[in-house]
Symmetry: D2
Subunit: 371 residues, 4 copies
């Protein structure tokens, strides 16, 4: 597959561009019988939508989803579910300037070389962060499936931006607070610090990187397929598919590289008849399989590449060095908008593996269905 | 696919267990016409082999490879290439003890729950680090293909173990030194420090984690397929398939999360008619595509889970808490032996993407082949 | 993959239902640089469209295609190409009747059992012949790619319907005549006989089966990948994906089962420096690979299952036997409308294999593209 | 995937050549807990083995299978199952002659062009009928899984050879008789006629084609995934992967093309509370899904291409016409040996779809497994 499709049994195909007509998603493999409507998608898309606050881009988009297929009488039918949002507010003129002068940190140059002059460069085209809207469409379905059938909950939040880190919070804090502040922090006080810092850096025409942490609760034991489709393999793969991501780590992650085995091993105990570990350095995954503890992983985002500063580049048509001021309206940091995207991709992988493991049945029968 | 196969156009299928008869690999998609023999595989396997020195496990294995198919008259034929090493030195008796008492940090418990009492627990079975021998078999083929056809060179090395880090070295140092010392360090002085540290910790019955860095040189621009098969997505996926890996990062990686855009963007310059960037924070990947700069990424390994210390566990048959001393002979750190494995998995992904991109032809004709 | 996606390097994902909002297609893997517009799709859709003549269903649909993505400045960009037709003329009321009384010969019963009461039964839902419009959308792109880059031409036609067979015609006749008559016959005289026969049977409330033959010209040698992705394997797979198809044969096909080797082997000759065979019992495929001779294969369609006659069925809600008169407007034979569908699926497989074989480059550069 | 792997959830990878070291198979996805041993494979391989009687090739091979992995304590573990037979009796000298003079009806020419001079031409190499031994290895596992878990039985037999057809027999006759005669006929009298006819044609240095029919009993309703992974699509794909196959048809097949809807539709009745159809023109498949009736399909084999007669060919090195007498020992018809192969490929597809549908669980627990 050339790269716009992911999953085995819960499969997302993504299409669309930043400044084309639309961004779309087709999900194949969703069991029949799940209650699902545009509202389920819209609420997730709204969390990702730009133009919501001062800390994100001023580009305004409605991003109203239309379900094209696969739902009948308010429930999924087992057929593929097509979803679409039309691109409304797009101003491509500014991008003419970058046709021949690739923006540092963006895919402009690599895409130009790979696809020749045919590449749709407007707004980053297929390489834009906007395509993550299709991840959210598919993720909304996956989330609902996981929640309704297995009671799985996925909670992502901003762990840090520009070095300012949330450190004292519970998963309960995160669940309650992350979507109540515009930076998606689990801690309202940290949120306020982040807001100020982002506005400050924005005023300087610069941008900030950060880290999103994601926790998934109530996972059954045994999700994941060794060797190459281990749960962490598939999560890492999809995480790196999000634009601007440069790293991923599970549990104690890179920190474990500096630990000893006696510190890092999670020993087992019994608690209420269940085998648990008081520590969770494994991040909920052992041997590529979920172990019943919370899944915990972190994704590193680089600072947004579109900055106001003048940067050195090369005019590829003239083959000469030049300077560029990146056009368009941009996020000073992609991290807050990435939080629902991270929840979505996590849901896509978990739904896929729950179906692979036979834990979610192919039809969600209510009871005693004929015939 | 249930997880033991990876790749699209250069496809590795892995089979075998730690204490079963063998570890094997089948590679499908290798172009016809590549010179290839057992010696090409053996030299790579020898780099991974246990029992080489004081810093790795004392288990002695010959690991002599047999090519089963796909090679005729010293060249690949286009047919799938089967490869096999027989397991020679295996002592499974010690593992009876762990049948019902899962080892902390290992897959024993998750595998037991996923596969029931049918799981081959001996030596970790399918979850053992030993299965990476199959990655090396496939990787040896991929490396040779990349080197012979495209001049691509892959150099991995131990960046740090237990917090002791190599910091002043060039890629040339790494190329020359890494396989001249038993810890696979690019710096002989650091190597000596690491050796002492590992022996010390080994004496304490404990283990150490570390980081492997991998560089690939001479990549063409445009390897990778957006969105979900981006080059970093596929490298991250296969990296997390290596046992004991807990994180992966590209270029400035997690460090980029604490940077500003002005610091992290790699600006472009012309150098000898080629577009280059003086910095390489991107690690050679933009928009999921190789950008012509060296590919640089790092993989975090947790400390080896098998330690001499007594650990808490649960007897799953009796459902009661107990303690366990892990049996068998083990590595105090997996990092040195992981270095050739990291080179192998990198080669597998690059070979796959070079074939996907049509950069390697399906037949490596010498010239003017009839008919 | 759950079944709505096909191909490896030229990949079609199909979605939509007979009486839902739309039928759609996403094609991933099309090289950048191909000239492509809605007109290229529309002309193929128009050949498949119902309501064209007396011999097909009276249901009138406009089937106007919209390209959603992947095309910029009149050429493909390398990004996935989304395409959509809205369902206009649908009258689902009649189908209420069949909710509980499955129509003989249709998927109503099997879909009901597989997907429960959630199945979209209206007009056959996902199992309707209408979904082949998505095959035609993807096929239009594949056909254009094959024609523009390789000069491959695909010609399908009605070989027989209801036992009336075209026997004396050349490929040139087929190319010229098949779309000039409403039954898609290569022979205008046979076309007239077929037309009369179909109208007669239609008047009797009955239906007819038939055979479509498909020829592809100018194939390079070596398309196909042994063993399980042989060219005939992949053509057979997609042929059987067309509703109402019950068989497929290549070259002398089932006839070869009654021949001797001396009769059936195609001996080789030289003609103009090329190796050819005066006979083509192989149908252009040897060992699963195209051999440079015309690809020739035939697909058997059963008589349309929707007939006016009263038929025995079972009320699945009451679990009792009953009778049914199938509602809706229907084709007395699906064969004429299947002809462009067969061309489309053939093109999809050939485009996929041409890309797999590296015969079509990933970018169709005009010449000397910068950089 | 380049073509040597098939399936989604029960996945066979095949490797090996006719005159190389071995033929091998790796099956991934088999549930843990199935009793399985070499004897289960050997009995199937013995049915396919050459040199059994006068009607097949005189090449003698032992074909003793070795299970390499995935079985522990007599049961599958959930890990991939590697299997191997070594090639014993191979005499490649005769094939030197055909290096440059491709045999009519074989893959020699197409393989030579696709893979260049690197192709392993000895005995047909990867294109030999001998590779179907790997289908049988995987099929033996699939058959046992289907029988043990679902009670599915697969019965293939020779329907006709050289125009001599078995016409009066029951499935019970086929089950009892097919492996009691060397031509695999369901009817002992027809078997005797076939035997004489084959010996006669063999004496003339010629060969015969034929048809294998395959029936699968006790299928659950709903196997198959629309659209492109319909049950008939996947069966057709794998059928055409068997060397010498030129056609496949389901139920009334090509015959249905000459019928009317009133004749061909299978009307429904109730029988013992189950919905059945007195006729089975559908061959057990509606809308690509199994319908609970017996699966019935037929595969057409061309006459064996290796015949004693002198045939016209081209010397590809000299580019001149020449004549060839095919060397080696050969089957006068491949049909009898294909019968167990057809059963095997049918089992592979059914096992895959039973796993996709969640009808076979991922672990075959006996009862109350801890933990």
């Amino acid at each position: 597959m050339p790269g716009n499709t992911i999953g085995e049994r819960f499969v997302l195909t993504s299409f669309g561009e930043s400044h084309g007509k639309c961004v779309g998603a087709v999900v194949d493999g969703c069991p029949a019988g799940l209650e699902f409507s545009e509202a389920d998608v819209q609420k997730e898309l709204d969390l990702r939508r730009p133009g919501q606050s001062i800390v994100t881009t001023q580009r305004r988009e409605e991003d109203i989803v239309e379900i094209l297929s696969g739902v009948f009488n308010g429930r999924t039918t087992g057929a593929p579910i097509g979803m679409l949002i039309r691109n409304a507010d797009k101003d491509s003129r500014a991008y003419e300037a970058i046709l021949n002068t690739p923006r540092p940190g963006h895919a402009d140059l690599t895409a130009r070389i790979k696809y020749g002059e045919f590449n749709d460069y407007r707004g980053g085209g297929r390489f834009s962060g906007r395509i993550t809207a299709s991840f959210v469409m598919g993720g909304a379905l996956a989330k609902k499936l996981l929640a309704d059938v297995l009671g799985i909950e996925i909670v992502a939040y901003t762990l840090e931006i520009g070095g300012i880190k949330a450190e004292n919070f519970s998963i309960e804090d995160a669940r309650r607070n992350r979507y109540s502040n515009e930076v998606r922090s689990p801690d309202p006080e940290v949120a306020e610090k982040l807001r100020k810092r982002i506005i400050e850096v924005r005023g300087q025409g610069d941008s900030l990187g950060g880290i999103v942490e994601c926790v998934a609760l109530n996972l059954p034991v045994g999700l994941g397929e060794p060797v190459f489709s281990s749960l962490d393999s598939d999560l890492a793969k999809i995480a790196l598919s999000i634009p601007a991501v440069k790293g991923v780590e599970f549990g104690s992650g890179f920190g474990s590289a500096r630990r000893r085995g006696t510190e890092n091993n999670d020993q087992y105990r019994l608690a209420g008849g269940k085998i648990v570990s008081p520590t969770n350095n494994a991040g909920g995954i052992l041997g590529g399989l979920s172990n019943g503890m919370p899944l915990v992983y972190r994704i590193a985002f680089k600072p947004a590449s579109s900055i106001a500063a003048k940067q050195g580049t090369v005019d590829v048509s003239k083959k000469e060095e030049t300077e560029l001021v990146v056009p368009g309206r941009h996020d000073p940091t992609v991290v807050p908008r990435a939080v629902p995207v991270v929840e979505s991709v996590t849901a896509l992988v978990l739904a896929d593996h729950a179906l692979r493991a036979g834990i979610i049945p192919p039809v969600l029968r209510k009871e005693g269905n004929p015939p």
